[in-house]
Symmetry: C2
């Protein structure tokens, strides 16, 4: 296909495609004339990956470049390439040690294997620390329920990752991880809306006593 | 207790407490002298609610005021007071009608009752529209799994809302809704990390063919 068609199909402006070509993020097409080249599915797929990394994961171009290098390296597993796309760095040597222990206990109880410096483990520890700082009770039992629900969901989701190409696998992983989060959050809130209406919908919960005596 | 103790216990600076008192967000203490007053649990509870609304839900003071009015009105159910804290307005008359229908079908299939102009329904429709715009496949079956998982979680969470006071109920609902989201998201990513390692951890997924002939 011509560059104009590649642009129309991918939604990436021609000027941006030319920039990616000059910059080496996108491989050249097959020359069909002095100033023309022909592009194919591999270019469309690569553009989709670049856009997912830049627009969905919010990466700077140098980070995009490093993920593309991982995707292109056959010695790097898709798991590791996806990791480079989703865990650009570790946020939290400063994570609260107490909630970090709690995160570790949860991970161990499910026998999950995660990287020692896993970004996700630190994120969980930080999220738990915020709740603790607000005296919000979150029991081990409740945490276990969350893990059970997410375990089932994650298994199915990862089973759905396409393996026809490494690029498609990473695109799917990035979009599925980041942009399904708001879907899940909205569904949880809708389920809350129903449960809350049933339990708290009558004006009967007594008011806290006030001492405006 | 004295104002200094109220400040220390709640973490709210004295100047801010004075501002809330002048502004009527916080009810006066009992005068114990010309310039002194005594405060009690009702003040600590009210401050916690104001901070949850302002800091966690990110509300402006006029929105905080309107939620406090709902909390103080015994004719308003806790469900509705919580709704005013979590659904300040509807984002989406402009939600994609197709994904809005999809959200409605999910809600109907679970026989959830939600407000006709529910913020949560519109949020779900918008989140689904983003995925569609990126050609990300999300089957009805998968959406059903999400609903099943969140239904179970939400039931337990709402059952845990304290009803000793309307203020505590709203604080719990706000923090539990908003700040448990990152906990769930982190746990989902940890479960992904495990499932991905098992399925995609070997460097065997074949590369997409490139036409650099």
């Amino acid at each position: 296909m011509r560059m104009s068609e590649l642009s129309a199909r991918s939604g990436v402006p021609i000027a941006t495609i030319k920039y990616y070509l000059r910059d080496g993020l996108l491989h050249p097409g097959v020359a069909t004339g002095a100033t023309r080249a022909s592009y194919d599915e591999s270019h469309a797929r690569r553009l989709r990956l670049i856009r997912a990394l830049a627009d969905v994961a919010g990466m700077r171009l140098e980070q995009v470049r490093s993920v593309l290098a991982a995707v292109d390296d056959p010695e790097t597993s898709v798991h590791d390439a996806l990791g480079s796309a989703l865990m650009p760095g570790s946020p939290g040597a400063d994570a609260d040690p107490r909630t970090r222990d709690r995160a570790d206990r949860l991970i161990d109880s499910w026998q999950w294997t995660v990287e020692p410096d896993s970004y996700n483990r630190d994120s969980l520890a930080s999220a738990l620390a915020v709740l603790e700082s607000l005296d919000f009770p979150l029991s081990d039992e409740m945490l276990g329920r969350y893990a059970e629900a997410m375990h089932g969901i994650a298994e199915t989701e990862v089973a759905d990752v396409p393996t026809d190409s490494r690029e498609n696998a990473v695109v799917h992983g990035v979009i599925g991880t980041l942009l399904v989060e708001p879907v899940l959050a909205s569904i949880r809130r809708l389920a809350h809306e129903e449960a809350s209406r049933r339990r708290l919908g009558a004006a009967t919960v007594r008011r806290g006593r006030r001492s405006r005596a």
